[in-house]
């Protein structure tokens, strides 16, 4: 397999990357760890004219922990975040879910922001971003904006990012200790058939689900148990609009949402 031809730009600073994006945005793609984009290039599902490598931009290699939010720069690899000493304490959910993201051999290169930019509906990081009231920090030559996770994902591998913007960081709400994560996949590390994350929120639980709809979805549940919880989960499972595909039927996916959802909510509320 050979990618279609492209110019390769190695940006040494944020300004350089933004300049190229401002001029050639629609024809350009950002490459960081490449673990999502390279397969797309190899299969020619993506044919950019310019590839902008941002991994040498020093200011992107940062994890900031301030004001109840952990902000992860565009250059932080998944393995780096997994090895961050404060991960369990500050982002307990990410500590649970990140080992399910790809394999050791891809986490060593793939970045946190890259997985979110790719917006695969089965991927764990977009799901966790949604569960933890995360935000995507976008930057272009002209402006800077911060988009909440629920507004960032717009469909199957589609986001609100404009052609001249790049993700400079993503931020997660920190310190949510009561949380749980479960995933069902054919093989550990493969994309999820269904992945669920639950986080204690206010008086109840927020449940986020990936792998079922075109993008991850979340719903806040009040404190429920027994039949009331089952009914609420059943409603959520149907509202997600699951479809059959070669990995699983829609019904199987709804079953997983009901079963995993019940397990997780019970665990977080206990």
């Amino acid at each position: 397999m050979k990618p279609a031809p492209f110019d390769y730009v190695r940006a040494e600073s944020l300004d350089e990357a933004l300049d190229v994006l401002a001029r050639e945005g629609g024809d350009a793609r950002i490459i960081a760890g490449g673990q999502s984009l390279m397969p797309m290039l190899n299969m020619r599902l993506a044919k950019p004219k310019v590839l902008i490598d941002i991994m040498r931009i020093g200011e992107f290699a940062r994890i900031d922990d301030a004001n109840d939010r952990v902000t992860i720069g565009a250059g932080i690899r998944q393995a780096t975040l997994l090895a961050w000493p404060d991960l369990k304490r500050r982002l307990a959910l990410v500590a649970l879910g990140l080992p399910w993201t790809g394999h050791a051999q891809t986490r060593s290169r793939g970045t946190v922001c890259g997985s979110i930019a790719h917006a695969d509906p089965s991927a764990e990081l977009p799901l966790m971003l949604l569960a933890l009231s995360g935000a995507v920090h976008l930057r272009s030559r002209k402006h800077r904006r911060r988009v909440p996770a629920q507004d960032f994902f717009t469909g199957m591998m589609a986001t609100t990012r404009a052609d001249d913007e790049l993700i400079e960081a993503v931020s997660f709400q920190a310190g949510t200790e009561r949380c749980a994560f479960r995933e069902v996949a054919r093989r550990h590390g493969d994309f999820a058939i269904v992945a669920c994350a639950a986080v204690a929120s206010g008086h109840g639980v927020r449940l986020a689900v990936g792998g079922v709809a075109d993008m991850p979805a979340a719903r806040d549940f009040p404190r429920l148990a027994g039949a009331a919880l089952d009914d609420a989960l059943n409603g959520f499972a149907y509202d997600l609009g699951a479809r059959d595909d070669l990995h699983a039927s829609a019904r199987h996916r709804r079953d997983l949402v009901r079963a995993l959802g019940r397990e997780l909510i019970t665990e977080v509320l206990s």
């Binding site: 031809p5 490449g34 673990q35 390279m38 290039l41 190899n42 790809g102 060593s108 093989r187």
Partner: protein, 173 residues
């Protein structure tokens, strides 16, 4: 800022198993193809070419990587290790390679180069891995011959042997 034009070939320099090498690559050339076709280093195998099978796994600056998910031009200035760098001499296999041979942990051998790189890298950092650690690591590789059981057995035995070597070194030190 460096801009490498699509239609031209550009010089790429890195060290491969400690030896400085250089070649020329168009920006779109995959590192896996660069290693095999330009440098003749065919120990790294190419399977799925989209990061799933693990056959092309190598290390770049000490970290595991799929050579098919990287451009040759991205490896400029890096230190690469491939399966050719594992044996201490042409006549002697490494402890890990020897363990795989002993346990019949390969049949066709296509996946083996990548699996060796993952295990070698992991065992350098983890002296006492559990079976589930090894199986978790191997989830990043596809083997269609062995059923993995013999690979796991070989890896655990190699780990024990390496740990023993280290302890006797410590004792003699």
């Amino acid at each position: 800022m460096t801009r490498l034009a699509a239609e031209r070939r550009h010089v790429v320099r890195f060290t491969l198993n400690g030896t400085p090498l250089e070649g020329e690559a168009e920006p779109r050339l995959l590192l896996s193809d660069f290693l095999r076709h330009q440098l003749g280093a065919t120990g790294t195998h190419v399977g799925c070419e989209h990061g799933v099978c693990g056959a092309c796994t190598i290390t770049i600056d000490g970290a595991l990587a799929r050579a098919c998910l990287m451009l040759a031009v991205q490896a400029d200035g890096c230190a690469l290790r491939t399966v050719e760098g594992l044996a201490p001499s042409p006549a002697r296999l490494s402890v890990l390679q020897e363990a795989l041979r002993r346990h019949h942990a390969l049949q066709c051998g296509f996946c083996t180069a990548g699996i060796l790189m993952s295990l070698d890298t992991y065992l350098r950092r983890h002296r006492n891995p559990s079976e589930s650690d090894i199986r978790d690591l191997l989830s990043g590789h596809l083997c269609r011959c062995t059923g993995y059981t013999t690979i796991v057995r070989a890896a655990l035995e190699a780990a024990a042997e390496l740990a023993n070597d280290l302890t006797s070194e410590d004792r003699n030190a």
